[in-house]
Amino acid sequence: MNLIPLLLVIPLAWALLSLLLPRLPLGLLALAGIVLQLGTAAMLWNDVQIHGASRYAIGDWVAPLGITLVADGLTVTLLAMTALIAVVCAFYAIFYLRAYEKERRYFWPLFWFLLAALNGIWLAGDLFNLYVGLELVTLAAVGMVTLSGERHALAAGLRYLYAALLGSLAYLLGVALLYGAYGTLDLGQLSSLLEANLITQLALALMTFGLLMKTAVFPLHSWLPPAHGGALAPVSAILSALVVKSSFYILARIWMDAGNALMPVSAAQLLGALGALAIIWGGWQAFRQSEIKMLVAYSTVAQLGYLMLLFPLAIGQSQQSAILAWQGTMLHLLSHGFAKAAMFLAVGTLVLAVGKKRVVDMAGISAKMPLALFAFGLASVSLMGLPPSGGFNAKWLLMQSAIQSGQWHWVAVLLAGSLITASYVFRVFSVSFQKDADPQIRPTHPALDLSALLLAAIAIALGFGAAIPVELLTLPEEML
């Protein structure tokens, strides 16, 4: 039996179930469903590891007429990451949402729609399906941001929606241009067809702009902090860990799978420069925030900048350097996913316990909530890129790529990023160790701490076990 369609069927079925039968114990039901999805993803991972990439044509119609789903090394890794983060977030949400009776009603259906859309993106083999996935992700994510129905949440959600729609529009325009020129949208077929002409360049530029918007790459990032910083903790975790990665994934696929030869080195350097600015600006803004969740949200803006370094390190450089860059970027995507989800969950627990949102309100918290703070600390280690952590290994690979291609300016950016990250995370620690403060806290369920710790531990474990995913993440065939 082919496992690929199951990864779409399970979340869609559960979405409908949660929407139509809200009286069921949705949290427990969700946990069962997501464990099922995790098992499927693990089996598919194993399958791809042994037999290599596989394809699945829905209804046996092959491209360019039908829809083809592709599961290669990168896809299965992302599927597994999605399921793993989702299972922990669902577990967390069961306990966290006890304090949010009203929001619970729509949380679960949206959660499942979002998972279905994300899996759709990871598996999609052509540009149009990627578009459909993108739109569904946006709609579900905006819905989740506005769950509470409060003014600031609605405002943030609306801003998110506008930005995302503008991005989609640009992307769709690019897709239409390509279809007009080549008559196919299958990425595999396009890779051999694409020629360097004006239409193609324009189409790729439009798609890139749209995807940068959705990935919140500096200077198109301003919608992200209010949306991620204002949402409920498990929502923030999923948004920062998975949702923004989906549009980057498409961007990387388009350029590395199909348009690799078409991107001028100057454009690649420009994308890298945007990434560098994101790292510095996002880090500086994170340092300045007074609300702790906004600090974490700006940290996402900064960390997304690292992903952009893929382009200057891979395009126009030696093959070895390109492979290192690809592995480093994807490992960063994974580690940041786990670490940032852990951080949002930990911070969510802190805010829930203290009942206040500012960094200074966390004074003396290390005495009262050591485990949540410990999870925050482990996640910080990975975000700072200190060893042992997945974040460090990713940074090491990127650094090796930069040194081998003689691009020392990117080494400097990587190092500066670590220092800036250290400065804002230690701001939180410094406050938490304050002696005189005696914060009044509401007791929280130990499961909340446990979830955050688990995700943070995975980010750290990637410091030792990174070889397993990295081997699967080999470059798309065209580049080898």
């Binding site: 600390g377 280690v381 200190l386 060893p387 081998q404 230690f426 002696k435």
Partner: protein, 497 residues
């Protein structure tokens, strides 16, 4: 077994840390017993490895991390020098800390990070390549931060910021150095006599730059002037933490890293050929003199000891940068000697503060009669630092001087002489006050009344034992299992293989 033993040694303190973190704050007895049990098990395991390594056996844990990079823990003679020191002092510092922190809050957090810190130190000592070394070196930074800011006062938090500023900056320099070396050579394995002997001379300038980066990164922790600024600031931490930072973990990790870089990465002969050793000796000499002068100017006991550390750790660096087996022995043996002597001195400083409320040197008048054992321990430690026989420090200085003569660097003798005089100038007045000055009518803040013991036995016993070690390491230097014999074993393996 030879695969699992290094991991097991690491695990003893790692498991202790995790166990302690999850214990409720008020389970003091259980926490203490578990902590001591872990420390004893670790000493037994390290002892086992020491005997085996003396008989030419090696222990190695190795698996692939990413691509061509391995995670390697290896127990060779050099790693056991440091591992032996840290495991021994972990036991005594833990006992001392249990007495010192009695009745204070947040002990779970303290002992958890304390164990984590020792785990990192064991990793630093057994790391088999620079990459693995870096992992534990950074882990050490992170696990000591909560200890430095443990008191949570504004001053402690400020010191913590300074500490991070220096150590994370140092970590970045080290990372760049290691990453460049890896890109250049393809691996960073620690091998006796180094790995760079056969590289093409075109790379010499790049290698010199890498050497400087690596030493600068390590030099922050080893408190080489001008990278030492964090050390005096970190004195706000509780006494056992100071003892740990100065004698066992942090500065030693830096110095030990320098040993690894010179001997097992660059190779001592190649470093000499590259011409980086004499400048390093000059920097170390400057640090030795400068640290001593600063120590002389301090009126606070712990501050004076802190600057003394700055000076003393550079003896290790100086010994390493003298080309020749005798200098190597001097440097390596001082790694151990400075550890046991400095831990004794910090233990004493903590006892003076806890028992009588004394933190300033001028208040030490006549303490010798009230607290004879502590004062005697302090005197032994101070004599060792000055280099008076038969305390261990004398052996270090003897070999350093001899090594300098062998290497033909006669000016180093002058440095040793001046620094010994300065050491005497800042330690002898303290000793004079302890034993011969007339006591003030009242102690500044007497906390623990004189009973059967002069102070809390939890504090006194480890202090007396480490003082005895300082004496024993000097008196029995020629014995088979002394620090000196072990340093000789390493020097022989480095130069004759």
């Amino acid at each position: 077994m030879s695969f699992w033993l290094p991991l097991l040694v690491l695990a003893t303190s790692l498991v202790a840390a995790l166990f302690i973190f999850t214990l409720p704050e008020e389970r003091h007895a259980l926490r203490g017993s578990f902590n001591l049990l872990a420390a004893l098990v670790k000493i037994a395991l390290v002892g086992w490895m020491i005997i085996a390594v003396a008989n030419q056996q090696t222990f190695e844990t190795r698996f692939t991390l990413i691509g061509d990079i391995d995670f390697v823990l290896r127990a060779d003679a050099l790693s056991l020098l440091f591992a032996g020191l840290s495991s021994l002092l972990w036991l005594f510092t833990t006992i001392y800390a249990m007495g010192y922190l009695e009745g204070t809050p947040q002990r779970s957090r303290f002992f958890g990070f304390f164990s984590l810190c020792v785990a990192s130190t064991m990793g630093v000592s057994m790391a088999g390549n620079l990459f693995t070394f870096l992992i534990f070196f950074e882990m050490l930074t992170l696990s000591t931060y909560p200890l430095v800011v443990h008191k949570g006062t504004a001053e402690a938090l400020r010191a913590g910021r300074t500490y991070l500023f220096y150590t994370i900056g140092g970590g970045v320099a080290l990372l760049v150095g290691i990453a460049s070396l890896h890109a250049l050579v393809g691996h960073t394995e620690f091998i006796e006599t180094g790995v760079l002997r056969d590289v093409s001379p075109d790379l010499y300038p790049a290698l010199t730059a890498i050497f400087i980066l690596l030493i600068a990164g390590l030099g922050v922790k080893a408190a080489i002037v001008p990278l030492h600024g964090w050390l005096p600031a970190a004195m706000v931490a509780p006494a056992p933490v100071s003892a740990l930072l100065h004698a066992v973990a942090v500065v030693k990790a830096g110095a030990f890293g320098v040993v690894r870089v010179i001997y097992n990465v660059f190779g001592v002969e190649f470093s000499y050929q590259l011409g980086v050793l004499v400048p390093l000796a000059a920097v170390a000499s400057f640090t030795i003199i400068w640290g001593s002068i600063q120590a002389l100017r301090q009126s606070d006991i712990k501050k004076r000891l802190a600057f003394s550390t700055v000076s003393q750790v550079s003896y290790i660096i100086l010994g390493l940068s003298l080309f020749g087996p005798i200098g190597t022995m001097g440097g390596l043996v001082h790694l151990l000697h400075q550890g046991i002597m400095k831990v004794t001195l910090f233990f004493c400083a903590g006892i003076f503060a806890e028992t009588l409320g004394i933190t300033r040197i001028r208040d030490l008048n006549g303490v010798g009669k009230r607290m004879p054992l502590t004062s005697a321990a302090f005197t032994i430690g101070a004599f060792g630092m000055i280099g008076i026989p038969p305390v261990a420090g004398f052996i270090s200085k003897w070999y350093l001087g001899w090594g300098a003569m062998e290497a033909g660097l006669h000016w180093v003798l002058g440095v040793l002489l001046v620094s010994s005089l300065l050491n005497a100038a800042y330690f002898l007045p303290v000793i004079y006050r302890l034993w011969f000055a007339r006591p003030a009518p009242e102690w500044p803040d007497e906390q623990i009344p004189a009973g059967r013991f002069e102070t809390n036995p939890w504090l006194l016993i480890p202090t007396v034992i480490t003082a005895a070690f300082s004496l024993g390491a000097g008196v029995f230097a020629a014995a088979a299992w002394s620090p000196l014999s072990w340093a000789e074993l390493i020097a022989v393996r480095e130069y004759l293989s």
